[in-house]
Symmetry: C2
Subunit: 353 residues, 2 copies
């Protein structure tokens, strides 16, 4: 790995008590170029603009995918990644579906570890605080033919993150729009999936909701995801979440929730959940909780949901009674090294710089 | 419009008899930036790289859409656009669906006309030759939040084009993959739609096909499009093409084909076409022709199609007997100013430079 240090470090201007999430970038980024059928040598360079023309294929044809993961700092200043091998596997699953070259484990893991190690000072410490890491692969060839690109870039950028979205949200069950098709790219973190969701989400917001619970595009009967999170429903004392499919992203948080729920002796059913079943449970009073999970916000509890122009409230549970918050607390404790890690999920980032 | 001329023109190196389509860019491009809720002043600048970081939203979230149109040079050197108002309307339809700001008619039309006028020397003259023009809008804000961007760029780049894909092709009717969902973005020229098609298309090519005839994702019974073209089927002497929907791009060539077919007294039915009907016609010998239409190649005639692991041949018709080629010839004559333009489709690009 080639390391080209910035001679204009911005870290001294960083205030961990007061920063803007998502556009405060750490001083460096990882980049690696693919050409002539192979990846070149990864480099760490100062964060900033590179030269791309508007004819770049990634922009024209959406040949681009990404990952979202976090590094957590504990009270001793040690820094941990959380199940990064899952993100590595997933970026390659996304890349394959979009006809892009896979990245090597070495490029991915060493790139991230080296960057995080160099940028430790940018990682805020405290509840809900972390460094959000964004690996991505995108097509860089400048050509106006709608065919597979021959040039790509793998990059990793990062921004300090606060916890956000902690208030319970109101969601709208999708009855018209959808985010994925049978035989489509819904299971991939394909760039285009996100833009496609913006307009429907804006419309839902105009109706007073915070996000959309996506349903299958054929019947709008089966729950898929909520916003950019996987979705869970609790009826009586059983937790349900839809199985992973070509239409549903295989979330790391979802998988961790399932394993934690089982280890906490909760009953978890991974099976399709229909809107009918949710409505039935709502009517007979057995619908206890619904929530979304994802790396960015860990858990978003739903306070109400909208369906067929009606809004239905969900019960307000105490932190102890809520399965969502019980599991969330367990998960964040593991992530931040506040407790044992029985699953071996934490990966310590060694100090080399 | 601000015009910043290149002091390093490449036009003298351009050989209209021998150039590579898609990555031979004309000397200039149009760019215009959107910020603080409004578009700035459009500029013509030398074609080349601009500065974007890998955190750019267009790359991360696929908030990007484009158009594809052509300018044709006649024997006197006059240059014409073809129905550009349709592309203007469509780019804004795409932009709205992706929660991007619409462009103004002035920006779009003046930008294109000025660029084409300046770059006349790059437009090859002759059968099937043209200048391919690519307007696009993409999100430029550098932020890692999955939400609507606040900054955009509108750009127009262009490349000389030859006719390609003139040989009849073999297509595979999609039975697993799909390009659009109900309530999705299939009707938009959304960047992400194209990348999503690359992998299925590559698989079809490995099976010996040239492109995929997309079918609806729920039942795979109804034809949608072929590759990046709209699709037509002729049974006996009736032409069928599926109606425009949220899953099918409203192609300019498709619309022109329908109007031309009608003006030629052909019977055209705009209605859903099922695979069953095609198979039935194939079996009883009434399936005469199938073809795709789009700006890039105008018409691609199908020589065979694959369905359920069988390949079926289509009859080989003479140019006169083929409806596809009869309409195509009429259309290209209008585009290249070789005949009258009863529909008022040509727009002459005035000489101002
Ligand atoms: C569409 C979608 N679903 C679910 C998730 C949750 O996945 P993870 O838990 O791996 O962050 C994400 C990413 O955050 C996502 O983009
Ligand atoms: C998906 C798709 N369908 C159809 C077409 C044909 O549209 P047009 O005739 O306007 O070029 C295109 C663009 O070329 C396309 O991208």
């Amino acid at each position: 790995m080639i390391i080209q240090k910035s001679d204009n470090l911005r870290i001294s201007t960083f205030d961990p008590e007061n920063f803007s999430f998502g556009n405060t970038f750490v001083d460096h980024m990882v980049i690696c170029e693919f050409e002539n059928g192979k990846w070149g040598e990864p480099k760490i360079v100062p964060y900033g603009p590179l030269g791309f023309s508007p004819a770049m294929m990634g922009i024209n044809y959406g040949q681009a995918c990404f990952e979202g993961m976090k590094a957590y700092k504990d009270k001793d200043g040690d820094v941990f990644l959380f199940r990064p091998e899952k993100n590595f596997a997933r970026i390659n699953k996304s890349a394959s579906r979009l006809a892009m070259p896979e990245v090597t484990e070495e490029m991915f893991m060493d790139g991230i570890k080296t960057l995080v190690d160099m940028e430790r000072a940018w990682i805020p410490h405290g509840e809900g605080l972390s460094l959000y890491i964004r690996p991505l692969i995108f097509a860089t060839e400048e050509i106006l033919k709608a065919r597979i690109s021959e040039k790509y870039m793998f990059a990793v950028v990062a921004t300090p993150a606060k916890s956000y979205y902690t208030e319970p949200v109101s969601v709208k069950i999708a009855e018209y729009y959808s985010r994925s098709a049978n035989g489509g790219v819904g299971f991939a973190k394909a760039a285009g999936n996100y833009a496609a969701a913006f307009h429907p989400t804006r419309l839902a917001m105009e109706e007073g909701y915070d996000q959309i619970v996506w349903t299958d595009d054929s019947t709008h009967q089966y729950l898929e995801e909520s916003g950019t999170m996987n979705v869970f429903v609790r009826i009586n004392d059983t937790i349900y979440t839809p199985p992973i499919s070509e239409k549903i992203l295989d979330g790391v948080t979802r998988d961790s929730f399932i394993q934690l729920a089982q280890s906490l002796q909760m009953n978890v059913q991974v099976e399709p959940i229909s809107v009918d079943v949710v409505m039935e449970a709502q009517k007979n009073g057995t619908l206890r909780e619904m929530w979304g999970v994802g790396t960015a916000v860990v858990t978003t509890v739903f306070k109400s949901f909208g369906f067929q122009n009606e809004k239905y409230d969900l019960p307000e549970l105490s932190d102890e009674d809520s399965y969502a918050l019980t599991i969330k607390n367990k998960l964040t404790s593991i992530q931040s090294n506040l407790c044992e890690d029985p699953f071996g999920w934490r990966l310590k980032v060694e100090k080399n710089n």
